[in-house]
C-alpha cells in the first residue's frame, strides 16, 4: 500500500506479517498480533494448527482492517491558477473537428491525409484568435511535441494554460523554450543552453523583432561555435538583413570554414550598397563590356586571386566545371543587378536581348552562362523586374523552354497574383507533373483561375491514361491549396470518372478532403 493513504494502525505488525510470508512460515514464526483490543481478539480466534493457513488468515484480517480504516493525508495547497485567457473559446463544431484532426480520423468516407490539414487548421484558428477547450490542450501539446513544425501555432493557441501545463510536464518543455523567451533573461538562457534547433529558432525570432539584438546575440558566442553551426546561424541572418550587418559579414569572409565564407559572401552580395557588391560589380564590368554597336563582349577572368577567394569564390568548381566559366558565373551571380542597368543604361529586357560574344574567339558560348548567372542574381536579390523578364511568357514545352535558372525560384520572386497567373498559363499547355515545383512556389489558397487550371490539368492527365500515383505530389498540394470554390468541379470529376478505377478513387478522395477542408475553415469563421 504505497498509495500515500494512511492506515489507522501501526505498520509494524503488517511488516512482521509480510516478512514472515516472504521467508516462509517454515523458517519464521507467526508474529504477535497487535492493534486494538478488537483486532487482537479477532486474531486470537484464528486456528494456528497450520501456521501457513493461519498466516493467510491473519493477513486477511489485517488487510481488511487496513483498507477499511484508510485515512486521507492532509490537504495539499493548490498552485495559483494560470492567468485568465480572454480569448473566445472555439465554437463547438470546430472543437470536434480538432479532435478528429488530432486523432487522425475523419469519421466516414475515405479521406486523404488529415495530417496535412492539421497545420492549416491550427494556423487559421490562431489567426482568428480562438482559445481551444481546456480538455484539448494536452492533445495539442502532444501533437506539437511529435511534429515540431506545428509548434509555432500551437504555442500561441494553447495560451497561458498550455504554458502552465508545460511547466508541470517535462514532455512539453519544448514550449518553455519556444515561448519562455519573452524576457531578455529567457532569450539568453535558450541561447546559452538550448539545443541547436532551438537556438536557430531563437535567433530567427529575435532577428524578426530586433535585428541588431539578434546580431549582438550571435556575435557574442560566434568564435566558440562549431563550423557547421556557424554556417546555419549565419543563414539565419537573412531574416532582417541590413547594412548594420555588413561589418560582421565582412569579418566572416575571413572565417576558417570555406562554407561559412561562401555564405557570408552570398549574404553580402544581396545587401544593397555593400562593399562586396561594389567589388563584384567592378570585376563583372571588367569581364562583360558593352560595345558601341550593342554587343556584350565577354572576357572571362583568367585567375582566381586571393581577393576573389576571400569574397567567397572557390578556385575549383565543386561540380568540375571549366575554371573560367565557373569564376565568371560566380562573379556575375554575386553582382548587384543594378550595376548593369546603371552602367549600360538599358532595361533588363533590353540587356537580355543583346548578342553575347566572346572577346577572343567571337563565339556565343557565354550567352547561356550570362542568363544563368543573372537568374541566380535575380533570385538572390529578390529582383522581380529581372525575374519577370527572365521567365518570359509561360512556355509551351517545359523542358525545351530554355528558361535560365530555376523557374520555380524565379517565380517565387514575383508577387503572388503574378505567380498564380504565370503558373496557370503554364498548366494550360503542360502536364501537372511538370508544374509540381511551380505550384509549390504559389501562395495558398490558390487563386480561382489557378485552381481551375490545376483541375483541368489533372482531368487531362486522367484522360491521357497516366496513373494517379505519378501525380501524388501535385495531388497532395491540391488537397491543401485548392480554392474552396473549385471543390465542386473535383466532385464532378469524381462522379464522371469510370467507376472502380484508380482515378475515380483519387478524385473521390480529393473531393472528400476538399469538402472536409472547406467545412473545417467555415467552422472557424468568426
Amino acid at each position: 500500500m504505497n498509495s500515500g493513504l494512511n492506515s489507522g494502525m501501526t505498520g509494524d505488525y503488517w511488516a512482521d506479517l509480510q516478512s514472515t510470508a516472504l521467508l516462509g512460515t517454515d523458517r519464521r514464526a507467526l508474529p504477535q498480533a497487535d492493534g486494538s483490543a478488537a483486532a487482537v481478539a479477532a486474531a486470537a480466534t484464528v486456528d494456528r494448527s497450520d501456521p501457513a493457513t493461519a498466516l493467510l488468515e491473519l493477513a486477511a484480517l489485517a488487510v481488511v482492517r487496513r483498507r477499511a480504516g484508510l485515512l486521507p493525508p492532509p490537504a495539499a495547497r493548490p498552485e495559483q491558477p494560470p492567468p485568465a485567457d480572454p480569448r473566445p473559446e472555439l465554437p463547438e463544431p470546430a472543437a470536434r473537428r480538432l479532435t478528429a484532426l488530432l486523432a487522425g480520423r475523419a469519421g466516414g468516407g475515405a479521406l486523404a491525409n488529415l495530417t496535412e490539414l492539421l497545420p492549416q487548421w491550427l494556423a487559421t484558428a490562431r489567426e482568428r484568435g480562438y482559445r481551444p477547450p481546456a480538455a484539448q490542450v494536452p492533445a495539442l501539446l502532444e501533437a506539437a511535441r511529435a511534429r515540431s513544425e506545428l509548434r509555432g501555432d500551437v504555442v500561441v493557441l494553447v495560451g497561458p494554460l498550455g504554458r502552465r501545463l508545460a511547466e508541470q510536464n517535462p514532455d512539453w518543455r519544448y514550449l518553455m523554450r519556444t515561448t519562455g523567451v519573452d524576457g531578455p533573461a529567457g532569450a539568453d538562457r535558450v541561447w546559452q543552453e538550448g539545443l541547436f534547433a532551438e537556438r536557430v529558432t531563437q535567433l530567427t525570432r529575435l532577428r524578426r523583432r530586433d535585428p541588431a539584438a539578434g546580431l549582438a546575440l550571435l556575435a557574442g558566442t560566434w568564435p566558440a561555435e562549431r563550423a557547421e553551426d556557424r554556417l546555419l546561424f549565419l543563414d539565419a541572418l537573412q531574416e532582417g538583413l541590413g547594412p548594420a550587418d555588413e561589418p560582421f559579414l565582412e569579418a566572416a569572409l575571413g572565417d576558417r570554414s570555406k562554407n561559412v565564407r561562401a555564405t557570408a559572401a552570398e549574404l553580402l552580395s544581396t545587401l544593397p550598397g555593400s562593399a562586396l557588391g561594389h567589388r563584384m560589380a567592378e570585376r563583372a564590368l571588367a569581364a562583360v563590356r558593352l560595345t558601341p554597336d550593342g554587343t556584350l563582349l565577354v572576357e572571362p577572368p583568367t585567375s582566381c586571386d586571393a581577393s576573389l577567394q576571400r569574397d567567397g569564390i572557390p578556385p575549383k568548381s565543386p561540380t568540375g566545371r571549366g575554371e573560367q566559366a565557373w569564376w565568371l558565373g560566380e562573379i556575375l551571380a554575386a553582382t548587384p543587378l543594378t550595376a548593369w542597368t546603371t552602367a549600360f543604361g538599358r532595361s533588363p529586357a533590353q540587356l537580355l536581348a543583346l548578342p553575347v560574344v566572346d572577346a577572343a574567339s567571337g563565339g556565343d558560348q557565354w550567352r547561356d552562362e550570362l542568363r544563368e548567372a543573372w537568374a541566380r542574381a535575380a533570385v538572390r536579390q529578390g529582383d522581380a523586374d529581372w525575374a519577370r523578364v527572365l521567365l518570359g511568357p509561360a512556355p509551351r514545352r517545359a523542358r525545351s523552354a530554355g528558361i535560365a535558372g530555376s523557374p520555380a525560384k524565379l517565380l517565387a520572386v514575383l508577387p503572388p497574383a503574378e505567380r498564380a497567373a504565370w503558373t496557370a498559363a503554364f498548366l494550360r499547355v503542360n502536364g501537372p507533373g511538370e508544374a509540381f515545383q511551380l505550384l509549390g512556389a504559389c501562395a495558398t489558397p490558390w487563386t480561382p483561375p489557378l485552381s481551375t487550371a490545376v483541375v483541368a490539368a489533372l482531368e487531362r492527365a486522367a484522360a491521357a491514361g497516366s496513373y494517379p500515383w505519378n501525380h501524388s505530389g501535385v495531388l497532395g498540394l491540391t488537397e491543401r491549396s485548392l480554392a474552396p470554390a473549385t471543390a465542386p468541379a473535383v466532385a464532378a470529376l469524381a462522379a464522371d470518372a469510370a467507376p472502380d478505377t484508380a482515378w475515380a478513387e483519387t478524385f473521390g478522395r480529393l473531393a472528400g478532403t476538399l469538402r472536409f477542408r472547406a467545412e473545417m475553415l467555415a467552422e472557424l469563421e468568426p
Binding site: 504505497n2 486477511a60 470536434r96 480538455a135 494554460l161
Partner: protein
C-alpha cells in the same frame, strides 16, 4: 434451458492472450455456416481458408473441446469464438435443436445418453456437479496458497498459469482471474493478494452457511454468473439514471465497457458492464452527462452495485451540471465501508466535490480543504486532461476510490459540462 456462460467466464478459458484475441472474428455469426446447441453441447461449422469446413464442438459439462482445425491449442480460437457467439447472441445459436450427427458422435463418446433439452432435473444435477467442482478447486487453491506461504513468497515464483488453468477446469473463472492477477501484483501487495484469495476460497467452502447476501457476493466473486433475464424477472429499481462515467478496456478480442450510474431520486449507484460485439454497437449508449428514466435489476450481494438495464423507458437527455459530490474524507470512508462489507472490493465509485489536482512529491493528488487523495492508476492522457480542465481550480470529479488511490473517470468543468477523461470522448 442451459445457463449461458458469461463473457468473463469464456474469456478465462483461453489458453493465452493470443487465442483470446484470435477468437474475435469467430464470435460473429458470419464466421459460421451452421451452428447449434443441444444436449449440453454447442457445435458449429466454420468455413476455413479452403477445403472442408472445420467442425467445432464444445461439450459444456467438461468443458471439453473438439475442433478439426490443425491448432494444437485447446480450446482453439474456433471453440472460443463459438462459445462467445453462443453466450452473447442466443438467437444466433438456438437451443434445443438436434445436433448434427457428427457433433453428437464426436462430442460425446461419453455422452450418448440423450437428454431432454429443458430437463430441470438434469440442469440441477449439472449445477450440483459444478458446485462440487468449484469446491474442489477452492480446496486445491487453498493448499497451493498455503504451500507458497510455508516456503516463503521470496522463493521461486510459482507457475500461477498452471494454477489458473486448474481453476478454469474447476469452472471458477473468478478464482482463475485472481490467480493470474497475483503474478502482476507489486511485491508489497503480494501478501494482501494471497490473503484475500485464500479468504475467498475459504468463504466459498462455507458458502452454504453464509448469510444470503454475502453468499451471493462470494458466488459472484468466484465466478458464478446470473442470467440478465433472470435478474430482470426479479425486483427492479426505477429511477432517472444519470451516467456519471464510462471506461472501456480491451480484454482479448473484446472491449469491455463499464458505465457508472446514479439514480436521481434514490441516490443509488450502479455499474453496468457490457462487451462490444464484433460489427455491432455496444448496447449501452448512454453518454456521460446524460440521464434517462429506466429500470435496473441489481446483482445480489452485500453491496449491490453491478446491475443490468431493463427495457428502456425513454431517450437519454443531456443533464448538465455536476452531481452532488463527497468530500475526500467521506470518499475514503465510503471505500472503507465497502471493504468492511465486501473484503474483495478494490475500489468504490464516488464523485468528489470541489477538488483540485495538485502535484505532490510522489505524484498527483486531488485535494479539498480537509484532505488529499493520491491519484491512482490512470493513463497519462486522462490525467493531463483532468489537470488541464481544472486549471488549478476546484471541480467535481467522478472516479473510483480504492486502496491504490483515486482513479478519475469524468470531470465537470466550470460550465457544468461533463468531460470524459478517456481518449475516446471528445470534449
Amino acid at each position: 434451458m442451459e445457463e449461458r456462460w458469461s463473457t468473463e467466464h469464456i474469456l478465462s478459458l483461453a489458453p493465452d492472450a493470443a487465442s483470446r484475441a484470435a477468437a474475435g472474428p469467430f464470435s460473429a455469426p458470419a464466421a459460421w455456416s451452421a451452428v447449434g446447441s443441444a444436449d449440453g453441447t454447442v457445435w458449429g461449422l466454420c468455413a476455413g481458408s479452403g477445403g472442408a469446413p472445420y467442425r467445432t464442438v464444445v461439450e459444456l459439462t467438461g468443458p471439453a473441446y473438439q475442433c478439426s482445425c490443425p491448432s494444437r491449442k485447446s480450446p482453439c480460437k474456433h471453440a472460443l469464438g463459438l462459445l462467445l457467439l453462443w453466450s452473447r447472441q442466443p438467437q444466433a445459436v438456438p437451443d434445443g435443436g438436434t445436433s448434427a450427427d457428427w457433433a453428437a458422435n464426436g462430442a460425446a463418446g461419453r455422452q450418448r445418453a440423450a437428454r431432454g433439452p429443458a430437463d430441470p432435473v438434469a440442469a440441477r444435477r449439472r449445477a450440483e456437479r459444478r458446485a462440487a467442482r468449484v469446491a474442489d478447486g477452492a480446496r486445491e487453491l487453498r493448499l497451493r496458497l498455503a504451500d507458497r506461504v510455508r516456503q516463503g513468497l521470496a522463493g521461486a515464483a510459482g507457475d500461477w498459469d498452471e494454477v489458473a488453468a486448474r481453476m478454469v477446469d474447476a469452472q471458477a473463472p473468478g478464482l482463475a482471474a485472481r490467480v493470474r492477477e497475483l503474478a502482476t501484483l507489486p511485491s508489497e501487495e503480494q501478501l494482501a493478494g494471497y490473503a484475500l484469495l485464500d479468504l475467498l476460497a475459504a468463504a466459498y467452502q462455507r458458502v452454504d452457511e453464509l448469510p444470503g447476501a454475502l453468499a451471493a457476493t462470494v458466488r459472484s466473486r468466484v465466478g458464478f454468473s446470473i442470467d440478465s433475464a433472470e435478474l430482470l424477472a426479479g425486483p427492479t429499481v426505477r429511477d432517472r439514471w444519470l451516467a456519471l462515467g464510462c471506461r472501456e478496456r480491451v480484454e482479448g478480442p473484446l472491449t469491455s465497457r463499464r458505465l457508472w450510474l446514479r439514480g436521481a431520486r434514490s441516490g443509488r449507484q450502479a455499474v453496468l458492464l457490457d462487451y462490444d460485439r464484433p460489427g455491432q454497437p455496444a448496447e449501452l449508449a448512454l453518454p456521460v452527462g446524460h440521464s434517462m428514466e429506466a429500470e435496473l435489476a441489481f446483482h445480489p450481494g452485500v453491496r449491490p452495485l453491478r446491475a443490468v438495464l431493463g427495457p428502456r423507458q425513454d431517450t437519454p437527455v443531456p443533464t448538465p451540471g455536476p452531481p452532488r459530490g463527497r468530500t475526500v474524507a467521506e470518499a475514503v470512508a465510503d471505500y472503507g465501508e465497502a471493504v468492511a462489507e465486501d473484503p474483495w472490493t478494490d475500489a468504490w465509485p464516488v464523485p468528489l466535490a470541489e477538488v483540485v489536482p495538485v502535484r505532490g512529491p510522489d505524484g498527483w493528488l486531488l485535494t479539498d480543504d480537509q484532505g488529499a487523495l493520491p491519484v491512482g492508476e490512470v493513463d497519462s492522457t486522462a490525467l493531463w486532461r483532468l489537470v488541464a480542465v481544472a486549471e488549478g481550480r476546484p471541480l467535481t470529479v467522478f472516479g473510483e476510490c480504492g486502496h491504490r488511490g483515486f482513479t478519475p473517470v469524468t470531470v465537470w468543468d466550470r460550465t457544468g459540462r461533463a468531460i470524459d477523461l478517456s481518449l475516446r470522448g471528445a470534449a
